[in-house]
């Protein structure tokens, strides 16, 4: 069973990212659970979302404490919260950042890290504004690239079906991120 945690800020679409990714997995015949942090977080405050993926129906309906993999929508969070809390060794981490993966290496020595400048990609596709870029779709492309767990085609299909506003642009952002991911 895969267990993934997504970090972002309230209002950035971490939960939607988890849902789209879940849908992409479901399209490939998987059983999925995607859920937000169960809290009252406000816009701006650090938040998380979660995802379980398995080959058979998932009975366990409790929270995820030891994720195998991480997705980080917002690099400033790395200073603000302990993103690797409970992280199992040997997993994947995707970070929205201009920087190279190596620069994050000390955070999680046992993990394979990739970075992508999802912010730039989002803005290039006119997703959101400079103050509030919409990076949650782009980063999923990077996740597909880094992990190989889900096909980029499934991610793109899921985006097109699930995102009501600018589905094409979002899909394109995911594809571009897929292409530009630095591992």
């Amino acid at each position: 069973m895969l267990e993934i945690r997504i970090h972002g800020r309230g209002g950035q679409g971490s939960v939607i990212a988890s849902k789209i990714l879940a849908y992409a997995f479901a399209k490939e015949g998987k059983f999925v659970q995607a859920f937000p942090e169960f809290g009252v977080e406000r816009r701006g405050a650090p938040v998380a979302a979660f995802l379980r993926v398995a080959d058979k129906p998932i009975n366990s309906r409790s929270k995820i404490y030891k994720p195998g993999h991480l997705i980080v929508l917002e690099p400033t969070l790395i200073a603000a919260v302990d993103i690797t809390q409970g992280l199992k060794p040997g997993g994947f981490i995707v970070i929205n950042s201009k920087r190279s993966p190596e620069e994050f290496k000390e955070k999680a020595k046992d993990s394979t890290i990739a970075t992508v400048d999802a912010t730039e990609i989002a803005l290039n596709n006119r997703l959101g504004s400079k103050a509030a870029p919409i990076v949650n779709t782009a980063i999923l492309g990077a996740f597909a690239k880094l992990t190989g767990m889900v096909k980029i085609e499934s991610v793109i299909e899921a985006i097109k079906e699930e995102v009501p506003i600018k589905p094409e642009e979002n899909a394109q952002a995911a594809q571009q991120a897929f292409d530009k991911t630095i591992i």
Binding site: G10, R43, G44
Partner: protein, 295 residues
């Protein structure tokens, strides 16, 4: 630094309001003016979260969190108890959102007003149920988007006229207030402190996420609401004596200035805006007449 409103803070930083929350600022101004001799009651609203999780709190006065529909009457109960077992001079203050006031709490509010219980009732109006994620309330203006009034069917009925409803209760003091005009707000609070009976304040409190607005525009929006005559600052004494404080000039700014800063009105057509302008002008004129006849 120049302090034009009381300096002492009775709200702690670290509270859980969103960036640029008008409701948070409203509380800050209110509490510093009413002072420490105050017991607060909050029904469910953003402030039940803003206040912070147990065992923490953002306010420096006693606070009783209560059920959504009960703010007014819990404050009545508190006042009755203060009269018997406490200090009758302590202010009993209900502080509620527009949903808790215009909708689910209006019955308890009407009851306390009818009995003319000696207390303060504040509604910080962000024009929707924000704590639960922006659903329409009866304070939502006609035409606005919320998650339960989608853009293809935005809110169809005008904002409930809570001032007229409260005025109909003939309570001793009603005031509107705005976070953009703290000195006006403070002056009214000082005046209200001297009045025995039921005191009602309607506070305009922009909400950036709920209005699809930029947090930095909170004060600008609150100011424009007054300047466009959408939300005139006024006082009503004994339900009949109207005094309009602001805007001074009869010709206000056009409502577009206010609307265009907010995503919730983005779908409005020119005609809708015109209709809104007419509505505002008509309403303001009626207020003017009510002011005149009460002289």
């Amino acid at each position: 630094m120049k302090y034009t409103i009381p300096k002492e803070e009775l709200v702690h930083p670290g509270h859980l309001a969103c960036q640029g929350c008008g409701g948070a600022l409203a509380m800050r101004i209110m509490l510093k003016t009413l002072g420490k001799n105050t017991i607060l009651t909050f029904p469910a609203c953003c402030w039940s979260v803003i206040d912070g999780p147990f065992p923490y709190s953002a306010v420096k006065v006693p606070l009783f969190h209560t059920a959504f529909e009960t703010a007014a009457v819990v404050a009545s109960g508190i006042k009755a108890a203060l009269n018997r077992v406490g200090d009758p001079k302590t202010n009993s203050v209900a502080w509620a959102g527009d949903g808790g006031t215009f909708d689910i709490g209006i019955q308890a509010l009407s009851g306390s007003a009818e009995r003319n219980d000696d207390m303060f009732y504040f509604v910080y109006d962000n024009e929707a149920y924000m704590n639960t994620g922006i659903q329409r309330s009866s304070a939502t203006p006609k035409g606005a988007w919320t998650t339960t009034t989608p853009v293809n069917h935005p809110k169809a009925t005008p904002k409930k006229d809570i001032l007229a409803i409260m005025a109909a209760h003939k309570i001793p003091y009603i005031a509107t207030a705005s976070i953009a005009y703290p000195e006006d707000f403070t002056r009214k609070l000082e005046k209200a402190k001297e009045i025995k009976g039921f005191k009602f304040f309607h506070i305009f409190a922009p909400c950036p996420p709920g209005w699809r607005a930029n947090p930095k525009d909170t004060i600008t929006l609150a100011k424009l609401a007054v300047e466009t005559k959408l939300f005139p600052l006024l006082e009503i004494e004994d339900g009949e004596k109207y005094t309009i404080n602001l805007p001074k000039k009869d010709k206000g700014k056009p409502i577009e200035d206010y609307l265009k800063l907010q995503g919730r009105f983005k779908h409005l057509k020119e005609n809708d805006i015109k209709e809104m302008q007419t509505f505002i002008d008509k309403k303001y004129n009626r207020l003017k007449i009510l002011e005149e006849i009460s002289q």
